[in-house]
Subunit: 186 residues, 2 copies
DNA sequence: GTCTATAAACGGATAGAC
DNA sequence: GTCTATCCGTTTATAGAC
């Protein structure tokens, strides 16, 4: 049963293509083949490629942040971090995708400022969430958190982003979950 | 005084272009303009773009690993890690470049297997070096190292790679050095 | 909304003169 | 070694029919 609109499928496949190959690594033709409409029809919905990437990143960001905020707030901090790590591992898909915002951050010099702002916003939201969990975990004595929470959260988020890239590079799924394990206080 | 050969300048600029925009984000034409030779001359040295990226990554890897192995072995572990962090921060250049191997890891789905192997080799060398330093630092009580040294080293290297991407995204240089500070035992 | 047709620039790559 | 000239497919994008 195919209920989604052409517009929705375009956004979905554009997102996946960028997670696989980056902004400069896919074309309207690729998208055209996947969705089954001509490239001129894509321009009807998204006049330029920059329009397309901007909508894709905003939708992706909203979805992921919704999932993160869906993590049960009453859980102990270590458990919350575990759930977060599992969400992060899920972006790998069949093992060949990385986080869209991590990819666009790598491609940032090819992208308009509106995309930079959207990606920055995604980074800050994740770092803020992680900072609160780390602080809680430090208070509970279950998570290591040397230094300020915000600083540790930035380093930790960088580690998660780097770990999905490395996981794909080595064809393994373990590197993401290793990051979570790393923080558990001994 | 211009002593370097055309071949050397091609490799140098190709490296920088990829650190800025990635494998799919630059062309022989860009390189042609920068070096001042026609694109057909580039093909004389590097028949295909894949030949070019492979030589560039091998040269980059050798240079960086040489710098890392140049860190004084008699230094205390915490000091070694500090030096390593400074080397990593240097790849930012004018603030707009990331590690070539981090970029190619993001672009890995567009690249031939020989490049994947070269990038994997770079990752393993860095992780091995970091593992030894972390183990030494844990023994000296100056560095935090929960879990196995190799696991912690993989997570740490991911954090460094992610931190240069984030540093460029936010137009700051601090995020790389924060990673080093994070590990210092309190 | 989706198509055909086409534009105009760019992509990597090659042949052959000098 | 470097150039001119060129091939040919690709890329983003537009005009206009249906």
């Amino acid at each position: 049963m195919e209920t989604s609109t052409v517009r929705e499928r375009l956004l979905e496949h554009a997102q996946t293509l960028m997670q696989l190959r980056g902004y400069n690594g896919f074309s309207y033709r690729d998208l055209s083949t996947l969705v089954g409409v001509k490239t001129s029809s894509i321009h009807y919905y998204f006049p330029t490629k920059e329009d397309l990437v901007l909508e894709a990143v905003n939708q992706y960001s909203a979805q992921v942040l919704h999932d993160i905020n869906g993590i049960d707030q009453t859980l102990p901090a270590a458990k919350k971090l575990e759930r977060y790590g599992k969400l992060f591992a899920k972006v790998l898909g069949e093992g060949d995708q990385i986080c869209l915002c991590g990819m666009l951050a790598a491609d940032i010099q090819s992208l308009p400022d509106a995309v930079r702002l959207a990606v920055q916003s995604f980074y800050r939201a994740n770092e803020g969430w992680l900072a609160r969990v780390l602080e809680e975990g430090a208070a509970q004595g279950t998570l290591l958190m040397p230094g300020e929470p915000q600083m540790a959260a930035r380093a930790l988020f960088s580690a998660y982003q780097g770990s999905v890239v490395a996981s794909r590079l080595f064809n393994t799924r373990t590197r993401v979950t290793e990051v979570t394990g790393w923080l558990k206080a001994k």
